[in-house]
Symmetry: D4
Subunit: 250 residues, 8 copies
Amino acid sequence: MEVEKLTTLLEKVKTGEIEVNEALQSLRTLPFEDLGFSKIDHHRQLRTGFPEVIFCEGKTDSQVAKISEHILNAGHPLLATRATPMMYEAVKAIHPDARYNELGRTISVIQSDKEGKDGVLIISAGTSDLPVAEEAAETAYMMGCPPERLYDVGVAGLHRLIGNHEKLLQARVIIVVAGMEGALPSVVGGLVDIPVIAVPTSVGYGASFGGLAALLGMLNSCASGVTVVNIDNGFGAGYSATLINRLSDE
Amino acid sequence: MEVEKLTTLLEKVKTGEIEVNEALQSLRTLPFEDLGFSKIDHHRQLRTGFPEVIFCEGKTDSQVAKISEHILNAGHPLLATRATPMMYEAVKAIHPDARYNELGRTISVIQSDKEGKDGVLIISAGTSDLPVAEEAAETAYMMGCPPERLYDVGVAGLHRLIGNHEKLLQARVIIVVAGMEGALPSVVGGLVDIPVIAVPTSVGYGASFGGLAALLGMLNSCASGVTVVNIDNGFGAGYSATLINRLSDE
Amino acid sequence: MEVEKLTTLLEKVKTGEIEVNEALQSLRTLPFEDLGFSKIDHHRQLRTGFPEVIFCEGKTDSQVAKISEHILNAGHPLLATRATPMMYEAVKAIHPDARYNELGRTISVIQSDKEGKDGVLIISAGTSDLPVAEEAAETAYMMGCPPERLYDVGVAGLHRLIGNHEKLLQARVIIVVAGMEGALPSVVGGLVDIPVIAVPTSVGYGASFGGLAALLGMLNSCASGVTVVNIDNGFGAGYSATLINRLSDE
Amino acid sequence: MEVEKLTTLLEKVKTGEIEVNEALQSLRTLPFEDLGFSKIDHHRQLRTGFPEVIFCEGKTDSQVAKISEHILNAGHPLLATRATPMMYEAVKAIHPDARYNELGRTISVIQSDKEGKDGVLIISAGTSDLPVAEEAAETAYMMGCPPERLYDVGVAGLHRLIGNHEKLLQARVIIVVAGMEGALPSVVGGLVDIPVIAVPTSVGYGASFGGLAALLGMLNSCASGVTVVNIDNGFGAGYSATLINRLSDE
Amino acid sequence: MEVEKLTTLLEKVKTGEIEVNEALQSLRTLPFEDLGFSKIDHHRQLRTGFPEVIFCEGKTDSQVAKISEHILNAGHPLLATRATPMMYEAVKAIHPDARYNELGRTISVIQSDKEGKDGVLIISAGTSDLPVAEEAAETAYMMGCPPERLYDVGVAGLHRLIGNHEKLLQARVIIVVAGMEGALPSVVGGLVDIPVIAVPTSVGYGASFGGLAALLGMLNSCASGVTVVNIDNGFGAGYSATLINRLSDE
Amino acid sequence: MEVEKLTTLLEKVKTGEIEVNEALQSLRTLPFEDLGFSKIDHHRQLRTGFPEVIFCEGKTDSQVAKISEHILNAGHPLLATRATPMMYEAVKAIHPDARYNELGRTISVIQSDKEGKDGVLIISAGTSDLPVAEEAAETAYMMGCPPERLYDVGVAGLHRLIGNHEKLLQARVIIVVAGMEGALPSVVGGLVDIPVIAVPTSVGYGASFGGLAALLGMLNSCASGVTVVNIDNGFGAGYSATLINRLSDE
Amino acid sequence: MEVEKLTTLLEKVKTGEIEVNEALQSLRTLPFEDLGFSKIDHHRQLRTGFPEVIFCEGKTDSQVAKISEHILNAGHPLLATRATPMMYEAVKAIHPDARYNELGRTISVIQSDKEGKDGVLIISAGTSDLPVAEEAAETAYMMGCPPERLYDVGVAGLHRLIGNHEKLLQARVIIVVAGMEGALPSVVGGLVDIPVIAVPTSVGYGASFGGLAALLGMLNSCASGVTVVNIDNGFGAGYSATLINRLSDE
Amino acid sequence: MEVEKLTTLLEKVKTGEIEVNEALQSLRTLPFEDLGFSKIDHHRQLRTGFPEVIFCEGKTDSQVAKISEHILNAGHPLLATRATPMMYEAVKAIHPDARYNELGRTISVIQSDKEGKDGVLIISAGTSDLPVAEEAAETAYMMGCPPERLYDVGVAGLHRLIGNHEKLLQARVIIVVAGMEGALPSVVGGLVDIPVIAVPTSVGYGASFGGLAALLGMLNSCASGVTVVNIDNGFGAGYSATLINRLSDE
C-alpha cells in the first residue's frame, strides 16, 4: 500500500528532510493508483463483495481451479460463469461446498451469512433461454439479491405472463431473457413502471443470426424503461440488476 | 389471339394443305404464350379484377395520370400506391370519382358494384404505422374484401389489444403492421388460429435500420402461423390476405 | 379447469355467502387465463389437434422420448422436428407405430383416423432443399392436410415446372422451398392466383450467407401473393399453409 | 370506469336479477382492461406523471400544438422530443410558459411545484453528443429528477473526466452519451459501482455507420454494470435513469 | 513518345558515345511506361476505340463539356454516362451531333462509320430497370456492337420471356438487368448455353437494401454460365459483353 | 420422347380421326417440355457434353459413386466437384481411369478424344487460392478448354505478374482467383482487353468475413471488363470461361 | 495552474500549518490533471503545434469563424477541415492570410516560419479521391511536413505508378488514398519497405456501400506494413503520417 | 540474374552484332523483373532480414517443417505464426534452437547477433488478448526491435494504465491490442503524441461479432494518431511498428 509511502514523504517535508520542490517532483511521478481513485476501487470491492468473477470460456479446468483457490483463500465468495461440469469437479476437489448450477453453468461458493435482499425478478421466454436466465439468477444471488423466477412465459402464450402479474408488481427491477424475436421485454415493460433489463439470447435459427434479431428487437422496444445488455450476457444483467436493487438501501 | 392461328394450322393439316412434319416444325416454334399458361394468365386477371396496379414512386404526375386513364378506359378498377396529392389531382382531372387515401397514399376508382367479402382484419401497432396499414386496407378493399381495422394496439399497452379480442375472433385472416421491434405479430399469432401476415415498417430510428429490426423480429416469431412480407409492403400484405380470404368462396 | 371455481364464486355471491366487494376483489386477482382467452387457447388446440410440437434441436434423446410419451399418453398426435435417427429409436421404443421421415428429420404418430383435406402443394427447387420441404410436408400431413409434392423443379430448368402446371392449378395454397438465389417463388407466384408461402433454405455457399440471399430474394419477390417464413422453417410454412387450406372448411 | 359495471353485475347476481350462468358469460366477454392490469396502467401514469410524451418527428407543427393543448388542458406536464423551433412557436402560442431546449430539441411545461430528486448524472463525450445528452437531461428533469451534467469529457482527454470524479461519486445512476467509438461508458463503468446507462449517438462518419460502431462498443463493454439503449435515444436513457433513481424513495 | 528516347540511347551505345554500364543504369531508371506494357495500353485503345469514358456523377456541366471537347478534338468517339440533360446541352453546344439517351442518361458522339457487329442481347425485368439497361445498350453500341433489346420480361410473367425465345437463340452473349429479387438471370441462364452477364439494379424498396438482394441473388444463381457486375453498372456489363462478342472476330 | 405423340396427334387430324377442336384442346394441355425449349435443352447438353456435374458436398461416398456410375454408363464424361479422397476411391472402384485432382478436389473421367481448345488462362494470387483455381482449371479442361496456369502472382509482388505478360497477351479469356483484398482482377483487367472473370475466395481471416472483402473488392473493380462469380465458385468461373472461349468457334 | 496550490500545500506541511494526515487527505482529492499527465498534454500541444483542429461539419459559418478567431488570437496555427467556401469567407474576414484548399475543403493559416520536413508522400487512385488526399496533404503540411503528391495512379493503369517509382523510394511514410476496391495500398505496400497508411474513400457506387468495400480491402491487404484509418479520414492519415515522419528527428 | 543478359544485349549493340531496332524489340519484351523494381525487392529483403514469414494455418506439420528447413538453410531467421505445438516439435527436430512462444503461437530461430533497437511498446487490454499481443511481440523482436510489454491494462481499470505512464512516455511507437469494445487505443492515443497501431481481437461474445465491434471502435477512435490493422493481425501490427521504429535510424 502506497499510503505509507506518501505519509513518509509528507513527514519528511514536515521535518525538512526533503525540500518542497523535491517533494513536488516526487508527487508528480507517483503512480496514479496511489491516490484518488484507487480508493474508489477498493471501496467498490468491499461493497460488491466481488473481487473477481471467473469467465471460464477459454480456460483449462486446472486454471479455473487455481484461480478459484486463490479467491477462496482470500475469504471471498466465488462465482465462475460458463463453467463445464469438469471444471466444477476440479473446484469441488478444492472446496467441498462448491455448488454447480447445471443450467446456468456457474460454480459458486458463498463465504458469508449476510441475508439477501428481495426485489430482483427474472423472466424468461422459453425453455431454451434458461441457461442465460440462470446465469443472471446466480449472479444476482451471489451479489446478495436472491431473485424471484418466472420462466417460460413467452409472448405467444400471453396468459401465462398475465396470470402471474402479482410477481411483476412485487419486483423492484426485472430482467427479461428472450431469444428469437425478443418481444417479451416490450410486453413486460408496458405492464410495469420499474427498470427492465433485457437480455437477448442466441436461441433461434435462420435469420435470428445468433441473437441479432432479438438484440435489435430489444433496442427498438416501444416500451420506455427498457435497457439492453449483450447477447447471452446473463452475468451482466444480473450484475446491473443488483446495482439497481441495492439503491433502495441508501 | 393466337388460337385462330393454331386452328388454321390444324385445319391445314386436316385438308392436307401442309404436311405433318411441317406442322410439327411450326408447333415447336410457336410462342409459348399461345398455349397453356396464357389461358391461366387471362383467367387470373378476370378473377382478381386487377390487370395492373400502379406503383407511383419514381413516376411523374402525368405518367401516373396517363396510365390511370388507360386502365379506366378499359373499364378496370384503378389502384395506384405511393401516390402524392399532386398525382391525385392529375388523376381526378381525368376521372372525377377518383378517391385519395391520404394516410395510405393510394388513388382508387371502383368500377363495379360487386359486394365485398368480410374476413380481413388489419391491426397496427402505432400511429406511425398507419400509412402502411392503410395501403394494405385499400388494396384489400379494391380487391373485394373491405377490411376491419384495429389500430394503435402496440405491445406496450396490451390491454388495448386484448380488450378487442372479439375482432380477432371474427377474422379469417389478419394483417399485422408494426415497426420498431415488430413484436405485435407474435402476440397476435399467439391469440388466434388463423393465418397472420406480418408487415414490418420502416418506422423507428437508430438501430431499427430502416425496418430491419422489425423484419428480423417477425421472421423469428415464436408464434406459429405467421408469414412475412417486405418492409412497408402494405400492398403485398393486402393482396395476399385477399387471396387467402377468397379461398372460403370455393 | 377454473370455470368451476368461477361458478362457485358467483353462486356464493348469489347465496350471500360472500359479499359483492369481496367477490370483486377475487375477480381482480383471478389469473387471466381463467377468463376470455383461455377459451380461445383451448379451442385452438382442439381444432388444430396440435397441443405441442417438439423442436428436438438442443434436446437429448431421452428428453425427446419423455416428452413424446407424455403427449402420446394424453391421446394426442405426435410431431417432433429436427429429430435424429437416435431420437427416433428412443421414441419407437415407447410407441411402435412411430414413423421417421429421414429426409425431413421428423418423428410422428397419428392417433386418429380423421380423413385429410387436399389442397396443399409443396414445391422444391433442388434436391438439397428436400429436408426443409419434407419438414413442411410432414407438418401439413400431421395437421390434417396431406400435401401434394413437386420436387426438383428449379428455375434453371423451367420446363420441369411448366410441364407440371396441372398440379399448380389444382392447389389451394402452395409452399415453395428454395435455396441459393431463391427465385422459384417469384416464378410460381406469377403462374397462379392463390397464396404462395416461400421458404428460403440455407442451401448454397459463398455469398448465400446461410440462406440470407434466398431470404432477401423472396422478400423482394416481384410476384404478388408471396409471403415468407424464416430460413429453413419448413414447420412454419406447413403450419401456415394448413391454416390457410382449412379456411375453405368454414 | 368499469368497476361500477362489475359491481352492478355482482349485485344483480346477489339479488337473483340475473343467473349465475348468465353472469359467467358476461365475465368472459368483459374487456380485459376492466380488470387487473388496467389498474396498473392507471397507477403507472399517476406515479410517473407522464401520461404521454410527444415524439415530434414526422408530425406537423399544428399536430404537435394540438396534442400539446390536449395534454396541458388535462393538467399534465408536457414533454415533446425531437421538436423544431417552429413547433415550439406553435406550442408557445398556446401556453406562454412553454420552454424550449434548443440543444436537446425538447419543448416542456411543468405544471406542478413538486421538488425534484437528485442523483442522476449525465456525462457526454463530445460537443456533438449534446443534443442527445440534453434530451436525456430534459426527460429526467420533467420526470422529477433534475440531473447533474458533466459534458465534453471524451476518452481522448481522460484528465477532464478524472478531474471531476467527485461528481461521479455523488451520483446514484449515470447516463453516458457518446458517439464515434463509444468508449466512454466502459471507462466510467470502471470508476463507479452504480448503474450506468450508455447511449450511443449517430455522431461520426465513415465506418461509424450511423452509430453502429458506438452501439456495438457499448454492448461489448468490458465494464460490468453497463446497460445500453438505442442509438440517439436520449429520452429512453432519461426515462430509465429516473425509474432507477426513484427506487431509493420506496 | 519515349521510343525515340530509347532508340537514341541504343544508338549512343552503338556509337560508343556512352558505355554499356552507363546505358544499363539508364535502362533501370527509365520510367516503366516507356517499355513493354505501355505498348499494350496503346494497342488496347486502338482496338477498343475507347480512350476514355466520362463518368459524369460528381462533375460539373462545364467539366463534362471540357473533357468531351478534348476527346472529340482527338477524333475519338465520345461516351459519357450518368449524364444529366443539362450536361447534354453543354456538350451539344460543342458538337451538334451529340446524342442524348434520356433513359440511359448517356451522351454520345460516333466519329466513324465502321459497321457494327451483332450478337449482344440486353434483357430487362421491369420498366424501372430501363436506365441501367439503356446504359449497357449505349455502351455496347458505342463499342461497335449494336445490341438487340428484350425489355419488361420479368419472371412473374414468364410467357413474355418464353414467347421471345428466338431472340435468345440468336444472341452470342446476353446481358440481363433486374432489380428486386434478381431472379431473371437464373431463368435466362437455364434457357441458353452462351455467357450471361447479370446486372443487379437498385430498384426495389424495404429489404432490397439498394440492390443488395438482387446482387446476392445473382451471385447465387443456380444456373451455370452467369457472371455478375456491380449494382446499376450498366456500363460495365456493356463493356464486358462487347469484349466477349468481339472474340468471334479473331 | 413426346415427338411421336405429337406426330401421331397431327396424323390423326390429317386422317380426320380426331377433330380440329379436339386437337386444339390436346395441344393446350401438352406438357411444355415436349415442344420448343426441350430441344434447346437437348442441344445444350450435346454441345457442352455436360449432362450433369456432381456437387459432392453433403453427399455420401456411395451416393457419389452411384451417380458417377450412372453418368459413365451413359457414355458421358464425369466431373465431380468438392470431392474427398474417399469419394475418389469409391468412384475409382467403378471406373479405373478416374482421375483425382487433390488440390482442386475434383474427380473426372474423359470419355472422348476430341482435341481441346486453347485460350483460357487461370491466374491465382496466393497458394491458398489454389483449390479454387484448380476447380476452375478442371472444369475448363473437362469442357474442352485445357487452361494455361499462372499461379502465385499476388499484387504484393507485382513483378511476378508483369514478368509473365506474354501469357496474358496470348489468352482469350482470363480467370483471376484471389482472396484477402481481391485486388488482382483489377490489376489484370488493367493490363488486357479481353474478358476477365474474377473469383473471390474465402481465404483470409478477421475482417475478410469469409470472402466478403474480396467479393466486394472485385465487384467494385476500377478496371472495365471484369465480371464476378460467387465466393469460391471455381466451377462457375471455369464454366463461364469455356462458354466465352468457345465463341470463337462459330 | 495548480502547481502553486500544491507547493503551498507542501509548504504548509513544512511549516506545520497543516497536519500530515490533513495533507494526505487533500492530496487524495486533488484533481488528477494537476499532476502527471496534464504535463504530457501540455507538452503534446507544444510539440505538435496543434492545440485544436476544427471539424466544420455540423457547425455554422459564424461558429467556425469564432473558433478560428480564438485560435488565431492565441498565436496558434489554424486548420479547419470539411469547410465550405462560405466558411472560408467568414474566416478570411477575420484573418486576410487565411488560405482555402478547394479540393481538400480546408481553411488554414500558418503563424510561424519554421521550415518543414520532407518524407511524406501522398498517393491517390482516382480523381474523385482528391478531396480526401488533399485533406491529408493539408494536415501534413500544417503539422510541419509538406508532402509530395502522386495522384491518379490507380491499379487499372499500373504503368503510371511504376513510372514514378523514384518518388516511392524517396519517401519515409506513404499515405495511399483509394475508393472503389481499395487495391492500391496493397500494390504500393508490395513495392516499398516503409510504413503505408491506407485511407479508404466513399467513392464508388452500388456494392461499394459508402466505402465499406475499400475499407475491407485495405484491412485484408496481402502486403505487410499497411495500416488503415476510417473511411474518408484524410485528416487522420495526415496526422499519423506526420507523427511517423517526425520520429527521425529524435 | 538477368543483368548479365541485359549487359550482353547492350554489348552486342555496341559491337554491332545486333541492330538498334532489334535491341529495341528485345527490350520491350524483357520481363519486367529484370529491371528496376526487382532491385527494390532485393534490397527490401536485405534490409528487413525477412525473406518469408510462414503463416501456418491450413498447412500440415511437415509442410511447416519443410519450409522452415528451406529458410534456415539459406541462413535466414525463421518466423512462423499461428503455429501449433506439434508444428513446433516438427521444426525443433530440424533445428534444436527453435523457440516456441506458446501464447503467441510462434516458432522462431534467430540466426544473427545484431543488437536490437528499443522503442516498440505493446499494450494489451485483457488476458485473452495475449495471443495476439505476443504474436506482435515476437514479430517485432524477430525484426530487430525487442518490444516492451504492458499487459492487462483495460479501460475498466484505468489506474493500471495510468500508473505505468512512464512506459508510454519512453516508447517511439505503441501497439494496442484489445477485444470487446476496443476502447483502449483511444485512451492510449489521448495520452501520447506518437504513432499508435490498434489491433482488434476476436475476443468477446454475442454482439462482438468476431471482433467487428472492436474493429469499428478503433476505426472511429476519437484520438488522432491511431491507425488500425485487421482483426487478430498481431503479425501485421508488429511488422508496421518495426518499420516505423526503424525510421529513426536513418
